[in-house]
Subunit: 188 residues, 2 copies
C-alpha cells in the first residue's frame, strides 16, 4: 500500500481534472481573512503568498508552463530548452481581479488544457520522450505530466497551511497537535 507508483496518464488526469472544483469549494465566498492574508515572513524573492496569490499562480502555470512545455518536448525534444517559468508573474497578472474571476479563469484554462492533452492521444511510448529543463537538465514527458499533478497538490498543501496560519493564536494550546501549524513551507 505504500510503494511509490508508476506514472499513468488516466490517473494523473484524474487529479488534474479535480483541482479547479476542489479549490473552488475551498475558497469561493470565504471571508477575506482566509483569502487575502499570507504567512507574513518574506523570503529571498518575495513575501509569502495568500490564497488569492496561489490561485493566480495556478493560472500562470496553465498559460505558460505545462502544455507549452509538453509541446516543446513533442516538437523539439532536448534541442530547445523550456522557457524559464516566472514564479512571481501572478502579482502583476491578478491586479484588479476578484478571487471569483480567478477561480473561473483557472477552471476554464484547466479544462481547455486537458482537452488539448487528450487530443494528443499520447501513448506509453511517448512518456519517455525527453526535453531540456533550463536548470534541472533532461526530463521526460511523463515526469512533466506527473509534476503537473503534484504541483496542484503542493499548492493545495500550501493553501491549507496559509489558511491555518491565520488561526495560529486562536487555537491556543491545541497548536501542539495541529501538524499544519508546524509545517515550514519547504518553498510552497
Amino acid at each position: 500500500m505504500a510503494t511509490s507508483t508508476e506514472f499513468s496518464l488516466p490517473e494523473a488526469i484524474a487529479v488534474l481534472t479535480r483541482t479547479p472544483a476542489t479549490v473552488n469549494a475551498l475558497l469561493r465566498g470565504l471571508p477575506d481573512i482566509w483569502v487575502l492574508r499570507n504567512e507574513g515572513r518574506g523570503n529571498e524573492t518575495s513575501d509569502t503568498w495568500s490564497a488569492f496569490d496561489i490561485v493566480g499562480h495556478l493560472i500562470v502555470g496553465e498559460r505558460t508552463d505545462w502544455m507549452p512545455r509538453l509541446r516543446i518536448i513533442l516538437e523539439n525534444g532536448e534541442a530547445r530548452p523550456f522557457d524559464p517559468f516566472d514564479r512571481l508573474a501572478q502579482f502583476k497578472e491578478t491586479q484588479g481581479k476578484s478571487l471569483e474571476q480567478l477561480l473561473d479563469e483557472f477552471a476554464r484554462l484547466r479544462k481547455e488544457n486537458l482537452a488539448a492533452l487528450r487530443a494528443l492521444n499520447l501513448e506509453p511510448e511517448d512518456f519517455t520522450r525527453s526535453g531540456m529543463h533550463p536548470t534541472l537538465g533532461v526530463v521526460t514527458l511523463s515526469e512533466l505530466l506527473a509534476t503537473w499533478a503534484v504541483h496542484d497538490l503542493t499548492h493545495l498543501h500550501q493553501l491549507s497551511r496559509v489558511m491555518a496560519h491565520q488561526y495560529r493564536a486562536a487555537v491556543g494550546p491545541w497548536r501542539a497537535y495541529l501538524g499544519v501549524l508546524q509545517c515550514q513551507g519547504h518553498s510552497a
Copy 2:
C-alpha cells in the same frame, strides 16, 4: 496582511461549511492509488494514513470530538474533563464501507453539527468559557471552535501530502521544487 487573527464564529463556520465539499471534489471517483495508499512508514502508534483513513478520522471527530466537547464546556465547564479522543477509531469504523459512503456520511454529520452549533446562538461572551482537556489542561470555547476549523485544514494538508507521495518517483528531478514532497508530516 500577516497578523494572526482573533477568533470569529462566522469566519470559523465559513471554513467548517466548505470542508465536506472540498474533500468530496478532491476525492470522489479517484482511482484507488490516490485513495487507498498511505505514506508507508509507520510511527509509534500506527501506520500512516490513506485518504480513505483521513475521511474516516474526520467522521469520528464529528461524532465524538467537537460538538460533544462544546456541550461539556457549556454544561460542566472545567469540572468535567473531555473524554479522550481515539485517533485510531476510524480503522474499525470504516471497515466494509466505500469512500463514497464515507464522504456522504461526513457531509451529513458536518451539516447536522453546524446546524446544532448555530442553534446554540453563542455570543462573544461565551467564547471565553473554559473546559478541561485531558492532557492540554484548561482550554476555551473559542479555542475549541478555532481548532475544529484548523483540524480540517491540517487534514487537507495531510491529504495533499499523502497523494503527492504516490508520485514521489514519477516526478523525477522536479522533486526538488515540490514542497509537498519535502513535508515531514508533523503528526498529520
